[in-house]
């Protein structure tokens, strides 16, 4: 048990602090939600990137499908009432995991950068398929605000968009963290570690690499889908393909994971915190010029901590009594 509990302590502390800060005043909830989006995104991607060492540039497609899943639930099954949200999450899981299995079965045969970039093809191909055959509203996407209002009434809709959706992201992030700890300490974790370190050596030691890679891929994709469903569709109330298939989110997610330290538990959390906070805070101080400061800061941090901030901390606490808490 301690194996699972100890590493969760810093996670719980970070999450609780964020939650308390967010709830302490009306003005702090959305900034916290903004940061939380990046934390959750980093954690979801870390399950795949951090665990297997594979990069998926088309990762945003899973968020996109998750957000479409939720939007489709609203546009096609609005008669379900409150259950429509649950259905939305179920659809998000189904759609993102199906895509991950398809991509996994086809593209995970490719190694390294070939895989990374082939997935861009999947993402872009999917986007232009949606636009090209006018699937799910085509380029005009789906707007669910009015459906939400019809089902829940105006006040509850706003409450869902400005609070419940954010809490969902919190919960998703927390579950992702817990699952990460569980995986790291389980057979799957050992298998993924072996695959990440040396795939051929892992194979000749009996590790069915493809199976574990697809497992990690699908899990990561499901979390991405859930994030898309809540942080995009429920929160922002619309889905436009141009926005949701935007590769920038993948690059941001990779940046967050690398900022914090790939493969560590607290890394994506720290990465998301640093990235989200820098962007939010600098925007309030220097509106219009924040990126001019954020970008060099990112470069600076990575040149000083090439293994990520938590990767560095992890190394520092090795063989100290904190070792068990930072994984």
């Amino acid at each position: 048990m301690r194996r699972y509990v100890r590493p969760m302590i810093p996670v719980i502390i970070l999450y609780l602090t964020l939650l308390l800060v967010g709830l302490s005043s009306e003005s702090r909830w959305q900034p916290v939600a903004f940061i939380m989006f990046y934390i959750a995104l980093g954690q979801a991607l870390n399950m795949f990137l951090g665990m297997t060492g594979y990069v998926d540039f088309g990762y945003v497609a899973f968020l996109a499908l998750g957000s479409y899943g939720m939007a489709l639930a609203f546009s096609s099954f609005s008669s379900l009432g409150l259950w429509v949200i649950l259905l939305g999450f179920v659809l998000a899981i189904i759609m993102s995991s199906l895509l991950s299995l398809a991509v996994g079965a086809i593209a995970l045969r490719l190694r390294g950068a070939y895989f990374a970039i082939a997935t861009i093809g999947v993402n872009e191909g999917f986007r232009y398929l949606v636009e090209g055959v006018r699937l799910w509203g085509g380029s005009e996407g789906i707007i669910i605000s009015s459906t939400m209002k019809d089902i829940f009434g105006s006040d509850l809709s706003n409450y869902i968009s400005t609070f419940v959706a954010d809490i969902m992201v919190f919960v998703i992030g927390f579950i992702a963290a817990f699952l990460t700890v569980y995986i790291i300490n389980s057979r799957i974790g050992y298998a993924l570690m072996a695959v990440r370190e040396d795939e051929d050596a892992a194979r000749v030691m009996g590790v069915f690499a493809t199976k574990y890679k697809i497992m990690a891929f699908a899990m990561s994709a499901i979390f991405a889908g859930l994030i898309g469903a809540s942080a995009w569709t429920l929160k922002l109330t619309y889905v436009f393909p141009e926005d949701v298939f935007n590769i920038t989110y993948t690059v941001e997610a990779i940046a967050i994971v690398m900022l914090g330290g790939a493969g560590t538990l607290t890394g994506p959390i720290m990465g998301g915190l640093i990235y989200g906070f820098l962007r939010y805070y600098l925007s309030t101080v220097l509106p219009g010029f924040q990126l001019l400061v954020v970008a060099p800061l990112l470069v600076l941090i990575v040149t000083i901590f090439p293994e990520g901030v938590m990767g560095y901390v992890k190394r520092k606490v090795r063989n100290t009594r904190f070792e068990k808490y930072i994984i």
Binding site: R187, E197, V204, M205
Partner: protein, 248 residues
């Protein structure tokens, strides 16, 4: 029934034939040596047996079952363990974790949980004598320690057949003796067939192997009891060039 049987196995890369029509039988619990100069196809042969490559022609049987088309992880679970010429430990993981991977995935005998796998790992780490380093990261081990780690990792798979690729290369004579003794001991204790592959004929290995095969340019040149083979003139000609006797 032999433990491992190769039946006319060939593998080519582009125009180059790396392994050319090799047939071989290895019995349960046997010690077998494969000798051949660099580029003679030994490593390719190992990769064919462990499943990293599929043969272009020929068939491979293991323990009464054809494994020609099986993926590497299935072969590993059936009982084929191996080491690499240049050790390939999981660098970022500790010695314990490295060995535990073998215990967790290398057998068919049901799922083992992580805790028991770590216990098995501790046992084999003890066996190879790395217990003081068990919590160190693998990349911080010395070259010899990395070879021992690979050995422990393979043993934790409870293999029936252990393929050792240049396991004593680059070691000083003291280490060589220690490792050969170790292999002999675990071989007896665990009834493992060991196939050791060496480039240079090292007396210790020659003493250890009951039979050897000499490979040359992808072909099996001769096979037989160790001493007999080494006495053959043609072996000396091809393998040792002008010189005569192995291992001075």
């Amino acid at each position: 029934m032999p433990l491992l049987e190769l039946d006319g196995v060939s593998k080519r890369f582009g125009g180059l034939i790396a392994v050319n029509d090799v047939s071989l039988k290895i019995e349960k619990g046997e010690s077998f040596g494969i000798v051949g100069p660099n580029g003679s196809g030994k490593t390719t042969l190992f990769n064919l047996i462990s499943g990293i490559y599929r043969p272009d022609s020929g068939r491979i049987f293991f323990d009464g079952q054809e494994i020609t088309e099986l993926p590497p992880y299935r072969r590993a679970q059936l009982g084929i363990g191996r080491s690499f010429q240049i050790p390939r430990p999981f660098k970022g993981a500790t010695v314990r974790e490295n060995v535990a991977v073998g215990a967790l995935f290398g057998t068919l005998s049901g799922k083992i949980d992580v805790d028991s796998a770590l216990e098995i790992a501790d046992h084999y780490i003890e066996v190879v004598g790395l217990h003081e380093k068990r919590n160190d990261e693998a990349e911080r081990l010395t070259a010899v320690e990395k070879k021992l780690l690979e050995l422990a990792r393979a043993l934790a798979m409870k293999p029936k057949l252990l393929l050792l690729d240049e396991v004593v290369a680059g070691m000083n004579p003291k280490d060589v003796d220690r490792v050969v003794d170790l292999i002999k001991r675990v071989k007896e204790e665990e009834e493992i067939a060991v196939v050791a592959m060496v480039e240079h004929v090292i007396p210790a290995v020659m003493k250890f192997a009951e039979r050897i095969m000499v490979m040359h340019e992808g072909r099996k040149m001769v096979e037989g009891p160790t001493l007999e083979v080494l006495m053959m003139d043609e072996v000396a000609m091809v393998y040792f060039g002008e010189s005569k006797l192995p291992g001075e």
